[in-house]
């Protein structure tokens, strides 16, 4: 076990220096990176950890008796344990490695389609979900005759909690909600969602992709049945993520991909499957991704998370205040409970035009529907310009954004 890292006083400038990609130039200008909801940059410690894995620890896991294979297995399983403690899980067996949040949700939706859902059963999601928390359930519904029910959102982007309570019923088999909206930044009161669902005996999946980089998450305090995360949105590598499931919630799911490592024994007469989490990890896993993700968790462990969250909240407040001075600005998503995301439109300008020109000024934002087309349809807009923050952003980044947006506006007007 690694010693608990020293938590230094929070200093975004010092943290920035740990991210090599934040020092590059685009279009001849220093990069201002405000697309963290799409993916975060990676600290030196994560990059070094991946290199060290390949230089000194590379072997296949769970297979060999040779020393290197045991070192690789320890690194991989150690990463699982690190994720378990990061999320406050009861133990590493409650953590399944996946490619990311999308695969985590697909795994659960597939399992429910195979073993739980039937005609007329109901799946409850909300209107602000990412496509990855809509489409897997639509596929499950198509396969089983179940129905997807959608909780509406208010004008400010807050989920209508009373409407949610009304949708919970005897046919509801699962509730699947995001912790934080990727396009609006709304923070859902997940613990209230869970408590209400559990009163009906309904399990709850929480899509935590946009939450884990911004606030500590404790799955046992939330009492969620499933929690999904992506490594690359929390300073780790791409292609690795996790599904947390309570032991009994994972045990309920049948295998979903077949192959090596997920079996107890194989014969042509019939195959038996391993217990979770290995039941869901067919084939050689993304070992370097797992150890890289563990390094990202160690990085976060050395950060004063409360101070980081306060810093990000101040960036969001400051961004709203400064952008408000731009003529015609319209914010999409103004819930009092939001984090790290500022989505907006400028007059009648197309977000694609604004984003293209803002990029030329060296500021990376995302434009479009952000994989939440129903949210855009709800507001009757083609998309938004979205600035999304991480703990390494500063007020100078916000100033650069505001200047770039205003110059883009003048070019386009």
């Amino acid at each position: 076990m690694k010693d608990r890292p020293h938590v230094a006083p929070f200093d975004p400038e010092r943290l920035r220096a740990e991210f090599p990609a934040l020092g590059i130039e685009v279009h001849g200008k220093p990069l201002v990176y405000l697309d963290n909801a799409a993916t975060t940059q990676k600290p030196r410690a994560v990059l070094d950890r991946i290199v060290r894995y390949y230089e000194q620890e590379n072997a296949n896991v769970h297979r060999g008796v040779h020393a290197l294979s045991q070192i690789a297995t320890e690194a991989y399983e150690g990463a699982r344990a690190r994720i378990a403690s990061f999320l406050g899980a009861s133990g590493p067996d409650e953590i399944v490695f996946t490619r990311g949040t999308t695969e985590s949700i697909n795994l659960v939706a597939h399992g429910f389609a195979r073993s739980v859902l039937g005609p007329g059963d109901e799946i409850v999601i909300t209107h602000l979900e990412h496509h990855s928390n809509i489409v897997p359930w639509q596929l499950a519904a198509e396969a089983t005759g179940a129905v997807v029910r959608v909780v509406p959102i208010d004008e400010d982007g807050t989920v209508d909690f009373d409407a949610y309570l009304d949708l919970l019923g005897s046919r509801t088999r699962i509730v699947s909600v995001s912790h934080v909206s990727n396009s609006l930044g709304t923070v859902n009161p997940v613990e209230r969602f869970v408590r209400a669902a559990h009163e009906h005996g309904i399990p709850v999946l929480v899509d935590g992709a946009q939450a884990v980089a911004h606030a500590p998450v404790d799955v046992r305090a939330l009492d969620v049945d499933y929690y999904c995360l992506s490594g690359h949105k929390m300073f780790g590598p791409t292609g690795i993520g996790a599904l947390y499931g309570k032991a009994e919630a994972l045990d309920r799911l049948p295998p979903w991909q077949g192959g090596g490592d997920m079996i107890a024994s194989v014969s042509f007469a019939g195959t038996t499957y391993a217990a979770p989490p290995l039941r869901f990890e067919a084939g050689t896993p993304h070992i370097e991704g797992a150890v890289g993700l563990a390094a990202a968790i160690d990085f976060l462990g050395a950060v004063d998370r409360d101070a980081a969250a306060a810093h990000e909240a101040e960036l969001v407040r400051y961004a709203h205040e400064r952008l408000a001075s731009i003529p015609g600005i319209r914010f999409i998503g103004t819930s009092p409970h939001k984090t790290a995301v500022v989505s907006f439109l400028v007059g009648s300008l197309h977000p694609y035009d604004v984003g293209t020109l803002v990029d030329r000024f060296g500021v990376a934002v995302r434009t479009g529907h952000h994989c939440t087309e129903p949210v855009m349809a709800r507001y009757g807009i083609p998309g938004t310009v979205r600035a999304s923050f991480a703990l390494y952003n500063t007020k100078a980044d916000v100033d650069a954004l505001v200047e770039a947006v205003d110059r883009a506006r003048r070019l386009l007007s």
Binding site: H350, Y352, D353, L411
Partner: protein
């Protein structure tokens, strides 16, 4: 792949390249692109329909073609200004040519006017899709069967 040396679009492309070369920074080139967008005749509302949509663009793009005396006439529009500027240039360069010449249409020259960003892989789809659509409509018109003749 570039256009053959006697392709009828080449003089028009040279003219466009020359115009854009008058600007020594990107803001000037984009302002000029936006002027192209503003001078493009808006597409009639009745043509701004799903059947005329070019997919693969972040903004909405519509493209229609008709044949006049053996030549293909294009009209196009977009709800985003920069995209509208790009389609205006495509129309300016390829409108009124014969179907066989449009079959060879490409976008390599966009790099020469500082619009190479729009040829990068994420956005290439959009511009590529527009040119593919030009070619498809031209080919259909050659068979006397344009897929979306305005009525």
């Amino acid at each position: 792949m570039s256009l053959r040396s006697d392709h009828p679009a080449l003089p028009r492309i040279r003219e466009v390249v020359e115009e854009f070369s008058l600007f020594d920074d990107w803001t000037g080139r984009y302002e000029h692109l936006i002027e192209q967008a503003r001078s493009l005749r808006p597409l009639d509302e009745r043509h701004r329909v799903e059947a005329n949509r070019v997919h693969g663009c972040q903004s909405q793009v519509w493209l229609v073609a008709r044949v006049e005396s053996g030549r293909v006439r294009f009209e196009a529009d977009s709800d985003a200004l920069i995209t509208r500027g790009l389609v205006a240039l495509l129309v300016r360069v390829f409108d009124g040519l014969e179907p066989a010449d449009i079959a060879e249409a490409d976008t390599d020259w966009m790099a020469e006017i500082g619009m190479q960003d729009h040829l990068s892989t994420t956005r290439k789809n959009g511009l590529d899709a527009m040119v593919r659509r030009l070619r498809t409509l031209a080919a259909a018109s050659e068979r006397g069967n344009p897929s979306n003749l305005p009525t």
